[in-house]
Symmetry: C2
Subunit: 337 residues, 2 copies
DNA sequence: CTGAAAGCGCTAACAT
DNA sequence: ATGTTAGCGCTTTCAG
């Protein structure tokens, strides 16, 4: 390993001068500096981030907190896509990404402790139980954080605009002549709450009375559950003309069930998803769904966190809404005619 | 921030004693040690991994190298699943995960330099161009590495058993009475090479003469490309009875095209995928595909890398094959009858 | 313009 | 059983 000291010896200067030459921002003789840099390069010098951190208290490392639960976290296209864009944005700003988690070996650390242990400059939190004590501890700590799809009072967050999204869906359905709209909820989270509230409000705005039997408790990402609920909805005397699923993935369970009943989509019943997974455009019929802009969500989160880290004075906590758009597929029938 | 020194002061002992008490493996008075540990806990002490690293040269941090190319890397279910299991296995052994990449801000580092800069104890390499100079530099460096789905001579790798996989597919197709088998290649990589070679060999073993017009250059993960190729195959005078696609995702492009021709799967033509994405079980018909054991691949990679790191003397370089299995869906017709 | 020196938080060899 | 001390590689003040 080549150290600054080695370069200093080779160049016959002090280690301080080498450090200055390498960082660039000092009043060294430009020629000396250039020479030092050349030698450093020739010797294959790579700085040691840990040693640097010890002095500067900056790691240029961002922690990312995802749960590892089955079917959530990285298994979810929405989140793996967010992670990917966080990574890209961070890297292009000179930051690396380290996962924050509980750790098991000997000492298990809380999320906050883990973040301190790794000296991350900040943490992006996504896809976790936001009521978790440890998550709250982390958010309320001195470490800058950005939460995704959940707002903590006075903290920074980036959220997919679920209110607008659900409203857009209802608006579209109404335009297509639907008034019997079933809504399958996802797990009980704030995202689900927002979508549901927006659903109710949009229905009201359009003079639609929501039948309680059309509102069902479902789960995200579990096609089988959606299948069962779909069966219940199809068994109603007064069937809905359209079913809104909590996500595209669980919608697939609905399709299977609907086809089992010998019904045609969208002729016999219409369906709508949420997320806009890549597959929604590949399947036939193309799925009508609300496409969340996961790339933008990841990018904004990283950007905002870095701002929080680098200019804490001027960066004010805020909630950033990221809009998506309705993908008009072929799974909703126009029943006006 | 609470430092060892603070605890020492509080307890009226030396910092050495605190360090010893915390690490446990030393001949301290058990009572003193216990007391120190209690105080440390009460004070909210969290060790500083960077300071520790500086002394010990161990970071307990594993680098993971994925390319960021569109449609590859994390966007690929196969790889995000591998990443997830790497993460789990690593964490349960007390290691964290940091992404290795080029970095852009000021100084761009090679992969090897980046790994050194972050002091990772080892690197897992997946989904990259293995001919890349930088990748080779990293693999041939002093840093322990495990490559996924690519073997470097004398190095450790974990590979999905593509030879067996393709052979299993052919075997199954033959059993189902197929002899006109089309094969769409993925991008030109060693994985593709292995599958193709295995395909030829298996056909030969079964007395099947492979028509060159049945072998097509395709791409991984690009349904449109598969669609175009499917059209070409369907236009042949002597059509194949079954098409093997490079992956499940690109197979979907094939389905779309086939349906456009008014053909039924599997009655008019059979299709087979590769990967076994979750969706392959959700769609109707269920896709016949070779399911790669991505979880096991990730787990084994991490396990093996940690072995390489912790017991370099006894860990010998090897290629670990991970088998998958054929998922018999409903997209292959039995044409024996 | 350059260098000496202190010290970030920790471990471990070596004293006591 | 406990403490002293050196030093990991680096940055940064301060002195020259």
């Amino acid at each position: 390993m080549v150290r600054i000291k080695d370069i200093a010896t080779k160049c016959g200067v002090s280690i301080a001068s080498v450090s200055k030459a390498l960082s660039g921002n000092s009043d060294l003789n430009p020629l000396t500096a250039e020479h030092i840099r050349e030698v450093a390069k020739k010797m294959g010098y790579v700085p040691n981030s840990s040693a640097r951190l010890l002095k500067t208290n900056r790691s240029y490392n961002i922690g990312v907190l995802f749960v590892d639960d089955t079917s959530s976290g990285l298994g979810h296209e929405y989140f793996s896509s967010i992670l990917n864009s966080i990574k890209e944005e961070a890297e292009s700003n000179g930051y690396d990404i380290t996962f924050i988690s509980h750790r098991f070996k000997n000492n298990s650390l809380t999320f906050y402790e883990h973040a301190k242990y790794r000296n991350v400059d900040g943490v992006i939190i996504a896809s976790v139980d936001f009521k978790d004590k440890e998550v709250i501890e982390l958010v309320e700590s001195e470490i800058p954080t950005v939460t995704i799809d959940y707002e903590f009072n006075g903290k920074t967050s980036v959220v997919s605009d679920n209110v607008q999204g659900e409203a857009d869906i209802v608006e579209y359905l109404v335009k297509m002549g639907h008034r019997k709209i079933a809504f399958i909820k996802g797990d009980d989270t704030s995202v689900t709450q927002k979508r549901l509230t927006s659903f109710y409000r949009s229905c009201k705005d359009n003079g639609i009375e929501v039948k309680e039997e059309y509102i069902k408790d479902g789960r995200y990402h579990l096609p089988n559950i959606s299948g069962v609920i779909t069966r219940e909805l199809l068994a109603l005397d007064d069937k809905p003309t359209v079913i809104i699923y909590p996500d595209d993935y669980s919608l697939l369970g609905g399709i299977t069930e609907i086809e089992k009943h010998g019904l045609k989509i969208p002729d016999d019943i219409s369906i709508v998803g949420y997320d806009g997974i890549k597959l929604s455009r590949l399947l036939r019929p193309i799925i009508t769904t609300y496409v969340q802009n996961s790339t933008e969500i990841g990018r904004k989160s990283a950007k905002k966190l870095i701002e929080l880290i680098e200019t804490p004075k001027t960066a004010l906590p805020e909630t950033i809404f990221v809009k998506g758009y309705l993908q008009e597929g072929k799974t909703v029938k126009d029943i006006n005619k």
